[in-house]
Amino acid sequence: MKPSIQINQIGKTYGDVMALSDINLEVETGELFGLIGPDGAGKTTLFRILTSLLKPNAGEAWVEGLHTVKDYKKIRRIIGYMPGKFSLYQDLSVAENLTFFATIFGTTIQENYHLIKEIYQQLEPFKNRRAGKLSGGMKQKLALCCALIHEPKVLFLDEPTTGVDAVSRAEFWQMLKRLRERGITIMVSTPYMDEASLCERIALIQGGKILSVDAPEAITNSYQKPLYAVRTADYYRLLNDLRDTDFAERVAPFGEFLHLTTREKMPEQEIKDFLLSRGHSDIRLQPAKPTIEDVFLDLMQTT
């Protein structure tokens, strides 16, 4: 079967600035695919190319078999797009926004209510409130409703959870999971590495290049270097002390612990002894399971 989204050697430059270079990706129908990377990585540029808004300088891409440049009119009928910035009419109410977007796609809220029911029910108490007066989480829900109302085959969500609190973020991912069950292909971007595990497959993107594409577990499993979680009473001194050693390849703060990647596998006691010799107390050291961020940091360092 043909992939839902196919990207062949896409490149984009703005003047001298390279935004994307040689991007190759395939996303299967009904897949929840995550594009994970920081601001300026090229996520939005890729979304704008795939939604037919932007012409690439190099390569080609297809969405549901439609060419993003040649068939742009057809693409625009079958996709839903939620831009990174909240892009609804702030001075229109929740209901007015939704009605408007339903109408311009030639449908009505009633016709496709089943698609948005679960999400819209949470918005219903505020349906006469102006969109600009909604909380961040509510805005995202409304934007998702507006992107869904015409029953798109492919949904492009550009950083839907940026600036939204953890509760709303968790709810948002729940909604995406349920949408996936309806067979809608979803491409979602996020700068939050911890959201990667919620996708079926992810692409790590940085500086306009794709660093790695795979299932999240496969990506974390690919991290073969010895990794330890360490903490002591003095976190900042620990960081500096470990950086000074020969055995540490990378030391990075990870929440309460530091993640220490050593050049070679070494006994834990050896590290503890070193820390004791530097006068650290309350030492806790254990092997750590790599996270997407460990992989990302590693890939950033090697590329």
């Binding site: 704008r48 440049v69 892009s87 001075d91 311009i104």
Partner: protein, 369 residues
Amino acid sequence: MLKTFIAFVKKEMYHILRDVRTLLILFGMPIALVLIFGYTVTNEFKGASVGIVDQAQDDLSRQLITKLTASGHFELVRKPHNIEALEADFRAGDVKLGIIIPPDFEKYFLGGEGSTIQLISDATEPNYAVTLTNYASQMIRDFQQEQFPTEQMPYAVAIENRMFYNPELVGAYNFIPGVVALILMLISAMMTSLTIAREKESGTMDLLLVSPLNPVLIILGKVTPYVVLSFINALVVFAMGWLIFDVPVRGSLALLLALCLLYLMVALALGILISTRSDSQQTAMMMSMFVLLMPTMLLSGFIFPIASMPAILQFISKIIPAKYFILIEKAIMLKGAGWEAIAIPAGVLLLMMFVLLAAARKNFKVVYD
């Protein structure tokens, strides 16, 4: 298709009705402009202080003085005996216009040899000075004609002038057409460019583009409410001109409104063109100011007569749509001219409209580079 269009117009009306700023510009500005121009910027004057040196002191000179002062526009405040005394009055600021009637005025005048009346004005206020001297010389010419009603006058020019002459010197005759031209340009062009730029700024333009909507429909949906509102505004200004300032519409009202619509389309096309070139409301605003407001105010003949501009500015004024529209308005409203008389300026506007619409369509991006 129609349903989409109606939904669009409805949405646009919500934007307009919910934004106090837009409402103020739409409805407050036209009224404010008419009143400001009507009561402050007109060149109408009353009771200007005049000093007259009557060296003749004969019947005819006295008749002339009576005529000049009876109009109410001039008030005789000084009757100095000689020119030196008049100069002193000028310096003191007591007198804005000096009139010197030569000795033996009646004798020469009736003898048909002609006589020279000197007008002296205070050029520190040049516009005012020109207005005063123009008006006074016209009155003197009138006086002359009254004296020789049957005879062939040597002042053919003065008689010909009368057609264009504004006997009551009402500034409103000049400014109402100008204000209509300005308001239609500002509201349709500036508001259109602002409202489209706002969609770009907020990112909603991308959402509209990523929909099956035809871009022409997007633009039409956005501008239609402004066309209607601008048209209403034009009617309000014409009505205010008629009711408050007695500016008539001597020609066909239907023709006038039809040409208003044409001018509106030119303005809209300009507005859309500006919006294709600006990504934010701020840029759209600056460009509107520079491309629309200033030229319409300054180069259209609204405030400064085109004939007295340097050649380069006269040349530029030829591409200012408001110039042609003001010509049309004055012809229809003041002269009562018909279709034939305005065919040329109307043709120019029509051509401008097509060129601008084509340029706007070409520049409107459906896919970004």
